[in-house]
């Protein structure tokens, strides 16, 4: 085999077999699960996760009383959207409250609007929240607080990414670095 043939072979090998597949920072679900098509309440009326079809949608379960884990997550997602620039509108962010007693749809709209006008806060009856959260493995538990706090809520801090068809495809630990989040979403938007 002459030098040219060797060169062509090496390039072909690199193109076909030697490139590693993209490694997501999020944990891929073995089989993508469709997000439940159950309506919750936003300040503008009923909204289902299926209403975000066409966008990559982050779903988070939290509450407004939470002083930093919830806002830190929202803050990171705000930055991811900003870093996407003119493709930022291909990404949506939804926070579903685990504290419907205190988090009215209107209060959630104000809270989410602090981060980005497009971010959506959803509330509803506890049974409905439980039904929506079940496929995500949502855990939350209300426990007694002080006279001032009333109660505090332990809750799942992982957050999830839905594809454009509304399937849950990835889940992220709270600590996932901003740069890794951005890279995943950018990869999906550019390649899928």
């Amino acid at each position: 085999m002459n030098r040219t043939k060797w060169g062509v072979l090496i390039v072909l090998c690199w193109l076909v077999g030697c490139q590693r597949p993209y490694q997501f920072a999020g944990a891929p679900l073995p089989v993508p699960q469709p997000a439940p098509d159950i309506a919750l309440e936003s300040a503008d009326g009923p909204v289902s996760l299926h209403d975000f079809a066409g966008q990559y949608t982050f779903v988070y379960f939290g509450y407004r009383f939470c002083p930093d884990v919830c806002p830190v997550t929202m803050g990171k997602l705000k930055q991811v959207k900003a870093d996407l620039g003119n493709r930022g509108d291909e990404m949506a962010v939804v926070m579903i409250t685990v504290d419907p007693e205190r988090d009215t749809p209107e209060a959630l709209a104000e809270y989410m609007g602090y981060f980005d006008d497009s971010f959506v806060g959803l509330s509803g009856d506890q049974e409905v929240i439980d039904a929506v959260g079940k496929p995500f493995g949502l855990y939350y538990h209300q426990h007694e607080g002080s006279a001032a706090s009333g109660y505090l809520i332990d809750h799942t801090a992982r957050f999830f990414l839905l594809d454009r068809e509304g399937n849950v495809i990835l889940s992220y630990a709270h600590e996932t670095p901003l740069d890794d989040l951005f890279r995943d979403v950018e990869y999906l938007i550019k390649t899928q």
């Binding site: 407004r64 009383f65 939470c66 002083p67 930093d68 884990v69 806002p71 830190v72 929202m74 803050g75 990171k76 705000k78 930055q79 104000e110 809270y111 602090y114 855990y139 607080g145 002080s146 001032a148 706090s149 505090l152 332990d154 809750h155 799942t156 801090a157 992982r158 630990a173 709270h174 600590e175 670095p177 901003l178 740069d179």
Partner: protein, 159 residues
């Protein structure tokens, strides 16, 4: 002779000043508080404060509480992740231990001074005086700067 006496007096005076100066410094600052950040921008009833507290003394100390104008109630809280579940509780005994010679970090996702019944959100960059009450060091007033909730000590990219 007079010249030598003058030099000796000046030297003794300088040494005395130096000794007094270093002594008063260590006595005056057994606790130092740095990098104070106020997470107070959100349109909610709560907020939090993060900081680095160093105990420069040989005696254990503890943060017992804090007071901030605009916070109706302040508690000391801890937050931990247990199997991807965020768990927040008031600290055990209502105080944060600051062991002798050590630095304790109050940070996002961990120990923090929790503000409740917040009067109003504060604008980014606002300077907020915070009175910290220590078991041994007494009351120390520091100033925190209002930052984005996602901003840890290293900025958003490090979260």
């Amino acid at each position: 002779m007079k010249r030598y006496l003058f030099i000796v007096v000046v030297l003794v005076g300088l040494l005395t000043l130096a000794a007094c100066s270093s002594g008063s410094k260590s006595e005056a600052t057994p606790i130092t508080v740095e990098n104070v950040r106020a997470n107070m921008t959100l349109p909610t009833d709560t907020g939090s404060f993060w900081m680095l507290i160093t105990n420069n003394s040989d005696t254990d100390d503890a943060l017992l509480g804090a007071a901030v104008d605009g916070c109706g109630v302040i508690e000391l809280h801890d937050m931990v992740m247990e199997n991807d579940v965020m768990v927040m509780r008031p600290v055990a005994g209502g105080q944060i231990a600051i062991p002798a010679g050590q630095t304790v970090e109050l940070k996002p996702g961990g120990l923090h001074v929790m503000c409740m019944q917040k009067a109003a959100p504060l604008a980014l960059g606002t300077k907020v005086p915070i009175e910290l009450e220590f078991a041994n060091a007494g009351t120390i007033t520091v100033e925190g700067e209002v930052v984005e909730p996602a901003m840890s000590s290293g900025g958003m990219n490090n979260n």
